[in-house]
């Protein structure tokens, strides 16, 4: 009987994990959400590279922008945008569960109100970023 035990390196019973993320829809969604971290990391590295180029001067900055204009980089950013949007939506959906309950008077604020409030702030901040970065002229 003990020969059927699959003991892992820790000596505990280790449940078989082969493709566990495909077993249930919610496990797959969980995996996708956690996977967005890899894309966030890539974008953070790109932003840091841009910051370094800015420090290095106009020539390096021009090189950075040229890299961003490469078709492969534009394709990568399309994927990064999808991942970021998925991360945003899942983040807002768990926000009511992650934060302490809010009350107006004695009535608790419903989850839906909290999610919608996050979406409104998201829309406003997104518009501000576009307005701030797009422009120039003079």
């Amino acid at each position: 009987m003990s020969s059927e035990r699959r003991d892992g390196p820790s000596g505990r019973y280790d449940r078989p994990m082969g493709r566990w993320y495909l077993r249930r829809a919610y496990l797959f969604r969980y995996t996708l959400r956690e996977l967005t971290a890899v894309f966030v990391l890539i974008e953070a590295l790109i932003l840091l590279a841009g910051l370094s180029a800015l420090v290095a001067g106009p020539a390096a900055w021009a090189g950075f922008r040229e890299t961003l204009s490469h078709p492969l980089m534009i394709g990568l950013h399309a994927i990064l945008l999808l991942a970021a949007l998925y991360n945003s939506i899942t983040w807002f959906l768990v926000a009511p569960k992650a934060m302490p309950a809010i009350f107006i008077g004695t009535r608790p604020v419903s989850d839906r109100v909290i999610v919608v409030a996050h979406l409104i702030v998201f829309a406003i901040l997104s518009a501000l970023i576009v307005a701030l970065l797009a422009g120039g002229g003079a």
Binding site: E34, V40, L47, I74, V130, L133, A134
Partner: protein, 121 residues
């Protein structure tokens, strides 16, 4: 070395940084990616939008430096925290400190590099 002294967990600290990074990523990242990675390279923005002088002035201001440092550094903490906990989901034994040091060490290193960049900008 008192036996009564409880072992402190680092988890609240890194969770706070993870949550801050999650909020930054959720609120700001789609718009940043849209502008920097898609709209601008595709020529959909005014010509001078991301010119060196303009971006250097924007990011180089005190508020810009603070914003750039905060946004970029917490993104690293967010990503590395999730990746560290994701290792467990991949069946990697993460007890002990090795993977913690690698994950959060990388986030700390990236934070220091970002701080350095912002300071000399």
């Amino acid at each position: 070395m008192s036996a009564r002294r409880p072992r402190r967990s680092h988890e609240p600290v890194v969770w706070l940084l993870f949550a801050a990074g999650g909020m930054v990523a959720a609120m700001l990242l789609p718009a940043l990616i849209l502008v920097i990675g898609l709209a601008e390279p595709a020529g959909m923005l005014p010509q001078a939008s991301l010119d060196y002088e303009r971006v250097a002035r924007l990011v180089g201001s005190p508020a810009g430096k603070l914003a750039a440092f905060t946004v970029v550094s917490v993104l690293f903490w967010h990503a590395m925290h999730r990746i560290f906990h994701g290792l467990h989901d991949l069946g990697i034994e993460t007890r002990g400190n090795r993977y913690r040091f690698i994950s959060y060490g990388f986030a700390l290193l990236a934070t220091l590099v970002t701080a350095g960049m912002v300071l000399i900008l």
